[in-house]
Symmetry: C2
Subunit: 195 residues, 2 copies
DNA sequence: ACGGGTTCTTACTCGTGAGTAACGTTACGG
DNA sequence: CCGTAACGTTACTCACGAGTAAGAACCCGT
């Protein structure tokens, strides 16, 4: 016994725990400042295990981004109500988005850092999810009578507005979600004329 | 002669050149990945000069952020037309903002990274500028009849929308500025009722 | 024309953190 | 019930980058 043999846990169970630890560390200090030693310690495991399962620092980062991005995107896709009115559909999407942020502060912070950052080898991961959200929003605006030549700009502006509201929310947790949702919905009203 | 004595340049002239070089490097790879050696090379100078003038990596970063932030803020403050209508005032502010971004892509990228990042020791620098812009926008919305209980949320959403549009613009440089400005102004219309 | 402050260099130190080697230990499938 | 694959560890290597010492060349004022 080389000392301190941890409880043995199968890979399928350990991996998500490692990603949880990575989330906390990445969220706290950002990708670059996060060390594999810190993640290992947070996960209660030794560093070579991380390398066994994820190969590299970038590997674990990508795995984490993929999981978080999938979660957010699925929530938004599931929330859409294709039959509804524009305000209904927007409120549903915004609600799903803020739901993710509210339940997953750390995850939001990591995704947020990556959206703006310039890590080329990795940006695609988040950019893909982001453009899927963007496409969903554009589609909704178009279907609900938005000016086709302006929809793209509005979609970008609205996603940015949502992201910024999410950041603000983290600093003012007592703000009711409805305020955030209503703000977005009102602004989107400028994009598509009420019918 | 220890070899390769560069052209001698007084400090008051060399410092801004160093900041220009730092801007390029920070913009390219981000703060953490930027090395002092890279900045020195970009500036055509040796590393100890950077330390002579700025003390540390954080020092040169702060000096740069301060310069860029001051530039952006001054443009926006100067552009406001306190007598005008809401759309006029918003268009003026947005125009000044996009003017900065358009003339200073690299600078925008650096500021942008810092807005979202979690570098506590340094965040205040950009946060200060950002909150000044936020205050200006809130003031305009309030003076022009915005609902006081919602102005804060709108101001955050609008700044986020503007930032996101700026990012989009960098990737689609052929988008006319008017489209960006109009989008923001239209959205802001939801915040304050037309009179 | 020379002293001293400023500009500038080369050539280091030294910590930190990614990634690896080499090796125990558990448990489960045959 | 035992061999072997999966789980897990300690203890390294090695590169890279922040920061520093020590001193050389320049140039201005007196």
């Amino acid at each position: 016994m080389t000392r301190a043999t941890r409880k043995r846990v199968p890979r399928a169970e350990r991996e998500p725990l490692m990603l949880d630890a990575a989330e906390r560390v990445f969220s706290d200090v950002g990708f670059h400042a996060a060390s594999m030693d810190a993640i290992a310690a947070e996960a209660g495991i030794s560093k070579p295990m991380l390398y066994n399962y994820f190969g590299s620092k970038q590997g674990i980062y990508l795995a984490y981004l993929s999981r978080a991005g999938r979660d957010l995107l699925n929530r938004m896709l599931a929330a859409d109500v294709p039959g509804g009115t524009l305000p209904e559909r927007l409120a549903a999407g915004a609600g799903a988005f803020f739901g993710f942020v509210g339940e997953n502060h750390d995850g939001w912070r990591v995704l947020r850092e990556e959206m703006v950052g310039q890590r080329e080898e990795v940006g695609g991961q988040v950019a893909g999810m982001r453009s899927a959200i963007h496409a969903l929003l554009s589609e909704v605006l178009l279907e609900e009578g938005g000016d086709p030549s302006r929809v793209d700009a509005y979609a970008h502006a609205l996603t940015g507005a949502g992201e910024s509201l999410a950041d603000w929310w983290l600093e003012h947790p007592d703000t009711p979600v409805e305020v955030l949702v209503d703000t977005l919905v009102d602004m989107a009203g400028a994009a598509a004329p009420p019918r």
